[in-house]
Symmetry: C2
Subunit: 446 residues, 2 copies
Amino acid sequence: MKPSNPKGTRDFSPSEMARRNHIFDTCKRTFQKYGYQPIETPAAEKRETLTGKYGGEGDKLIFNVLDSGDYLSALPENVDRNDFKSLTKAISGKALRYDLTVPFARYVVQHQNEITFPFKRFQIQPVWRADRPQKGRYREFYQCDVDVIGSRSLLNEVELLLVINEVFSTLGLGNISVSINNRKVLAGVAEEFGIADQFVDMVTALDKWDKIGEEGVKGELEKRGISAEVVSNILKYAATTDLGVLGELLGNDLAAKGIEELNAVMQPLADLNISNVKYDPTLARGIDYYTGIIIEVKVDNFPGSICAGGRYDDLTGLFGLKDVSGVGVSFGADRIYDVLEQENAFPADISATTQLMLVNFGEAEASYGLGLVSRLRGSGIHAELYPDASKMKKQMSYADSKSIPFVGMAGSEEMAAGKITLKNMSSGEQQSVTEVELLDILKAHQ
Amino acid sequence: MKPSNPKGTRDFSPSEMARRNHIFDTCKRTFQKYGYQPIETPAAEKRETLTGKYGGEGDKLIFNVLDSGDYLSALPENVDRNDFKSLTKAISGKALRYDLTVPFARYVVQHQNEITFPFKRFQIQPVWRADRPQKGRYREFYQCDVDVIGSRSLLNEVELLLVINEVFSTLGLGNISVSINNRKVLAGVAEEFGIADQFVDMVTALDKWDKIGEEGVKGELEKRGISAEVVSNILKYAATTDLGVLGELLGNDLAAKGIEELNAVMQPLADLNISNVKYDPTLARGIDYYTGIIIEVKVDNFPGSICAGGRYDDLTGLFGLKDVSGVGVSFGADRIYDVLEQENAFPADISATTQLMLVNFGEAEASYGLGLVSRLRGSGIHAELYPDASKMKKQMSYADSKSIPFVGMAGSEEMAAGKITLKNMSSGEQQSVTEVELLDILKAHQ
């Protein structure tokens, strides 16, 4: 039987790794430039840390880890061995993390006395979900989160929007559009039109705007029993993209506060000549814990968002630490990968390979060649000597498959003359060079 | 209840991350310089991929992942619900990887048609073991493996020994000692002295030499029923550190082949003036799959090895692909971390922090400051603006706790004069500078 990896998971080959690392390294470098610092948490959390945090449907998608040893021997009497929920609770004390947000909240509460707030952290690690595998959806995938916790200043939102712009422009994606809204404005809309108790219904319907359009949202709202007059008012709100006009439409304090916050974020961006961040009244972000500004990034001609997040006021409250406000965004590495592929935006020279492969002609030549590549490496050149004295064709095809740009040949004649025959693999051109010239050529191509 | 991470696992804070990344980045850069390329495999493998590969004791330490959904509903009749082994097999199709070696073998067999051999790969990922947690032993820890598979050339062993030297000298650990031996020589010893059927007993005893010394090994060998004469011969072998003399002691072909291989590795190292690799007849490496050269790296004044590995001839045979020889070593990141701490060998400026924090004096100053840090970032400077207009003491202590080297102050007076007051946090010195001067100072300190 041919071995395989579990469904919904992936192996990453060297060329895929090079592309993924291009994305992660760009994120990391940018985050650090802005003062965010890395943390990591364990793959498995205690089961009780995760359960109940993602709603009933989310809980079902958590992968539980079986306790080691004979987990049945010490099973309490009251466990129903025929009920999988009761049994799971008894035999599985740990579960694989479902996202990076809840482990981060746990981390902050657990280490609150060691942390200097505001705490600017980023975290790039895999998460696991028992989703049904399908195109673009995996059971193991990386999240790439950047958050600041312990500061209510809207400068944090501004900084995150700058981070977003810098990450995507560094990745060569100039054509992104960034939408922002404020959950306070959405709550103000519900209050203004007397449907505060149907806030979740409204948000859920609005959240689908991108997919089903105005008519679809109208239908969704009506289906949820919202009156025609209120639906009409909501649609009027959704058509209002000017924050000044919006202030006239919504008179309550909550909406006013939300609009004030949006202006406080938009103004500094305008001062910095950043024009791709737009207020979008239909942006809603279904996730429960957002309480302020929400953010979503899209790219032309590609469905779904590639980065999203927002302000939350009580994430650590889950673990007993109240009144710690935070804001963060998550970069969707897999989607960004697909966009960069589609746009042909990965750099051509991205694969992490050596600059020179030296052909192996046999024992004496290999001994000489080992000294040569060692000296090159000493000068910072990435170089390798083919390990076996295989046929030339096999050695050349190795260099070719690894996209190594130069192949060096030092046979007995070259050794005697103190020369190396250097082949440029893209032009096919060959020249005879001294070791000093070789080093110069390779340095020039670094 | 205060939340916590599962026992045997760890959270990594920003300062720990900076130190760990220093180790991993040094490994990665060196591996790539020598032509090794990264791969990654999923955290969970199919259970059958892992079970039976680590011996009975190893199997017990594998963490199994519960199937999602109602795993009891479809349980076959023949499963004994009261036997944990029978039940585990039925309700857990996946398990967390125990090492990187078996997943690598699975990867090579699965992707054999996409891989160009020899395949030089490295892999840095966590593994999980249900060991009893204790000082220095964790249930989740990173392995850092580098292997070449599909080449029998001993140049690969030589290259790995060069990689080892470069990694540790780059990390500032000059005082390592590298031992090598050959399992063929050990097999030759057992054959020579007529105890081929007790090869494993002999290897297991010799493997303890470092801990229990010559007398201890003698006792271990005798306890295993090996005759006094043979024990005396084995000890004579163990005292012979000259490969020429060893050749006279061991006349059989297997030992001769092993000695020839050792010479073929030692000679090129001598040619390259590498003097810290020594032949050690007592090095045995208990792991079953080694069949040729074995390698172990130690550092003065620190127990145990910090890097080890060897040649294996049939790793992929586990998954049906025969005759693929490979050789590799594994760097013990946690131990290396402890050694660098003990030796005070982490660079002082290692923490990934910004170079400048700008004090936040209020709305107008923050707006000006945001422009300033944006321009600095545009010039490649890592800089941050404190998000809140908090008390000076709080802002300074934030910069201090993050070890940010410079703090900038631009209040209304400075803004009017086009100046920034710059404080050097280590000397305490303050000076008034223009933005151009500020950039020069920060660039000079990069």
